[in-house]
Amino acid sequence: MNLLIIPALPLLGSFILIVVGSRLPKRMIPLVGAGSVGLSALATLILGYRFISASLTSLNVIAWQWMDINGLSPAIAFHLDALSLVFIFVITFVGFLIHVYSAEFMVHDEGYARFFAYLNLFVCSMLTLVLADNLVLMYLGWEGVGLCSYLLIGFWYTEEKNGYAARKAFIVTRVGDILMAFGLFLLFQTFHTLNIQEIAGQATQQWTVGSHTAFVISLLLLGGAVGKSAQLPLQTWLPDAMAGPSPVSALIHAATMVTAGVYLIARMHVVFEFAPEVLMIVGIIGAATLVMAGFAALTQYDLKRVLAYSTISQIGYMFLALGVSAWSAAIFHFMIHAFFKALLFLAAGAVIEALHHEHDMFKMGGLKNKLPVVYWTFLVGAGSLAAFPLITGGFYSKDQILWLSLASEHGNIWFFLMALLGALITSIYTFRMLFLTFFGKENTPVSHVPGSSMNIPLIVLAVLSTVGGFIELPHTFGHLTVFSDFLNPILPSVTVQEDLENFEWLIQLVAALVALSGVGLAYFFYIYKPELSDELKSSAADLHSFWLSGWGFDKLYDRLLVRPFVYLSNINKKDIVDKFYDGLVMIAEWVNRMLSYTQSGILRWYLMGIVIGGIVLMALALL
């Protein structure tokens, strides 16, 4: 079966919906929208089965030669290997579930068809991104997802602020994109090709570790990754992006698009491995981001903003893993995170819709019995996010990262401590969120209880985010390495510092304890003694507002970049250059007036003119 069909189906779906969507009966729309993604999910499963059973290392399909000018010959061609297989699995599968969820969630929106059209388009571009066999095509997907995220954040376009958030998301990520573009230019200049496999091949031949070009290139690529994955310093767009409908946040801003950066680095790991300094930077960015975002998440009121910041911080973990070149660990966490974060967002969406679009957690509460399904699934997701020991997938994926951040040959104690701190905060804000939403007394009446087509995805995701963890178990117990073995042909396994090998259990213990203590703290502050949290808040009001505003990055950029640009362009609205030409005209008219005085109509002047002319000529002659 052809690989092309996987991205083609959603494209077709979105095309149909764009062209005839407005005329389709309402039932048909989700059928087309979700159906197309469902089919491509099915296709993915079949293909994945074939792929594994035939134990292929890679699968290439060329649709057509895109362009071909001396050397630069990117094709519309797809390349399937273990890494991209994992990604397309997550994309199509989680995507499908979210489509199903949306079928009910969005049903009352007049832009129903438009929504599915965008969503399908997004799935298509995301698949293109991960399947592309050359960087130009990947860039195409890269921009495509950016576009869809723009469209979907601003989906409710009559709201001015949604439009603003959408534009912000697009522009900020674009800043990253052009850095990536520079990377591409430089790659092309060095290797005269942009095909990923060829680049990998040539890099190994031409470069030595620490080569300058490699350093620059991977730094630039990192720029792109940072932009898309909302890492420091380009993370500011993601919290605002929550303006979009919840399924969008689940699919784009949690499960798939924001992890494109992780994919990019993993995909280009060959290049990065030649630039250890950059890998170090990746790690630092990851660590810093995960702590920063964690603290920000601690203080949010808006349910979805908490999730947004937690997403940022979880991706921080992935970056950290990449930074210590624990490639498969990063991808593993990506997958698990996709499951539970999608789950959390969908659940949050259900809650918010149930309380007719109330986002403030402090106005929620006591939903435990009102929305049992949502509650239980949310609990599972929260557990996974907080890395609740042993029973949750999140535990296994995050624990791996914690361990490797210390034990990997590039790892160090600081990374580890940061990660650990992050873990603590994570579990605190996770359960703060849980308690505030579902426990305590009911502040807002429940208007409407989600139906089956919203519940089923929640349940499936809950299951996945639990069992998903068991395919990769640490050495200390089980030692199951299905996932990493599967990725091994693409992503080299991490080498652990020998002297630390025996301490893994200790680390896990610490991690587990930290997670649990986090839960405890949350319980203490928000169930046992709620007033305490308020005192804390008031005692450190500045810090609180500082964190609430996401460490003031927005303000900073606004002052530093946005306002100057707007100011400059506005003062020059009339185009200063034009004044120059106006000046010329004025001069001409002035001269004209001066000369017209000589045409006074009085004969004497004219005679005088002749005489003066004669005299001047005489003077010339005499000289």
Binding site: I76, L140, E143, T158, F182
Partner: protein
């Protein structure tokens, strides 16, 4: 012979359209439409079966022998593409003004077709005198288009346009004559024939001066900051078809001139000037972007985006390598389509709500989703989104100019971020946000869809299958870079 047909058909059609109007406006509309269709089909047929020879077709007839002036036309890949664009946009121009123009319809179509005739002449001629001839000829009807059917401030705009282009054109004439005499003194033969003048030997300083003469005309047309100020006025005041042709075609004649004349005739001088030219391009990109971000008049806004986009062209042309050159050519075509479409949208919006002020617009998506989607597509094109043609153009240009000069390329690329800002601003102000002024708002009519569907198809086709176009220009570009390749290599080594 077919080359002559291209031009003469348009001229005759124009006269017929004028005459026909005396009994029926509809007749003259149809006549001009059919005329353009004929030319378009002719051009397509040539394109379909052209060998990859540099020169597909030539025509030659003596005109003023005493000065060695000949009526010589020739067609290569570049000219062919430009012709295709000309006729394509011409057709759309006729369609878009179908209802808009009710005053002196016949004379309008006469001017429309004669502008196009002049432009085709510019793209075809291989005699410098004749080139100047057409260069001037295309201005007069354009002047009338702006001056008679324009908006409130048409007089001023028309004058400005005319005088700017004339002034620069005369400088080019001086340069042409200078070249003529240089060649005459070298070889004893006085001729304006492009092919004979190609290898003219001259001192660097001479060629520098002559090149500036040519440049003057071309960078004013292109336009390059700071010679751009005629453009916003002309574009915003012209009737829709006028803006469409201005932005889509007239600007391209400048770029065409650079590629066809400046580089081949003065290789050393232009190589020496290249960094400055690229700098000008970058300045244009950023300056145009910042200005268009500030505008509130929709057409003016789009006009400044043209300034910004044409910056890429000069950047690519003077990057001196075939990648960038291909990019520049591509940019000429895609920008022609994109800006044309955007102006068309501005025009139909004006037809509906009688204002160009974007603060008076908003939330039109509710009423006009089709128009919204169309606009969205072209807005995205203008911010260089992949899948759409402009991406190919800008990507090639930048990846090429990167080989030549990295700092400038970086600056140019930041222009793309700015492009994102102003393009999305259009979308936000006009189609999203609170719903305003929607009483008279209606979605695209069938005729208008007939205009936009081909445009959309074209821009997407260019984005996904650019190879056909690239192949068309390949022979000509490879030929022109036999000499420059060496300088390029030197630049390359300089970088590593």
């Amino acid at each position: 012979m077919i080359l002559v047909t291209f031009i003469s058909v348009l001229m005759i059609g124009g006269i017929m359209a004028w005459v026909a109007a005396s009994w029926s406006n509809l007749a003259s509309r149809w006549i001009s439409l059919i005329t353009l269709l004929i030319d378009f089909i002719l051009a397509i047929s040539i394109w379909m079966n052209n060998a990859s020879t540099p020169w597909i077709e030539k025509f030659y007839a003596p005109w003023i022998p005493n000065f060695g002036i000949n009526f010589s036309l020739a067609l290569d890949g570049l000219s062919l593409l430009m012709l295709l664009l000309t006729f394509f946009l011409g057709i759309l121009g006729v369609l878009i003004s179908w209802n808009e123009i009710q005053y002196r319809v016949g004379f309008f179509h006469f001017n429309l077709l004669w502008v196009l005739a002049g432009i085709s002449g510019v793209f075809l001629t291989m005699d410098l005198f004749l080139f100047y001839f057409f260069w001037e000829v295309m201005l007069i009807p354009m002047y009338f288009l702006i001056g008679i059917w324009g908006h409130e401030n048409k007089r001023y705009a028309a004058f400005k346009f005319f005088i700017f282009t004339q002034a620069s054109g005369l400088l080019m004439l001086l340069a042409i004559l200078g070249l003529y005499f240089v060649h005459k003194n070298n070889s004893g033969v006085g001729t304006f024939d492009y092919f004979q003048l190609l290898g003219t030997q001259m001192s660097l300083s001479t060629s520098r001066w002559l090149m500036f003469g040519f440049l003057a005309a071309f960078i004013v047309k292109l336009p390059v900051v700071p010679f751009h100020t005629w453009l916003p006025d002309a574009h915003s005041q012209a009737p829709t078809a006028g803006s469409l042709i201005l932005a889509g075609l007239l600007l391209k004649t400048g770029a065409y001139g650079l590629i066809r004349f400046v580089l081949p005739l003065f290789p050393e001088a232009s190589a020496e000037f290249a960094p400055w030219a690229m700098l000008l391009g970058v300045v244009g990109i950023l300056y145009g972007a910042s200005l268009s971000f500030a505008q509130t008049d929709l057409k003016r806004l789009i006009a400044y985006t043209s300034v910004s986009h044409m910056g890429f062209v000069i950047l690519g042309v003077f990057a001196f390598n075939s990648l960038a050159m291909q990019g520049a050519v591509m940019q000429m075509i895609t920008h022609g389509i994109t800006s044309g479409a955007l102006f068309a949208i501005a025009g139909i919006l004006y037809e509906r709500i009688h204002t160009r002020d974007i603060n008076a617009m908003g939330g039109f998506w509710v009423k006009a989703p089709f128009m919204g989607v169309t606009t969205l597509i072209f807005v995205l094109a203008s911010l260089g989104l992949p899948v759409l043609g402009n991406f190919i153009a800008e990507f090639l240009t930048l990846i090429g100019s990167w080989q030549a000069n990295q700092t400038l390329t970086i600056l140019a690329t930041t222009g793309i971020v700015a492009a994102t800002a102003y393009s999305l601003r259009i979308m936000q102000k006009v189609f999203l946000g609170k719903t305003l002024n929607e009483k008279t708002m209606t979605d695209l009519s069938l005729r208008e869809k007939l205009v936009f569907v081909p445009l959309i198809a074209a821009i997407i086709w260019l984005g996904l299958f650019p190879q056909k176009v690239l192949n068309t220009t390949k022979p000509m570009i490879d030929k022109s870079f036999k000499t420059e390749q060496t300088t390029l290599n030197q630049k390359d080594n300089g970088i590593q």
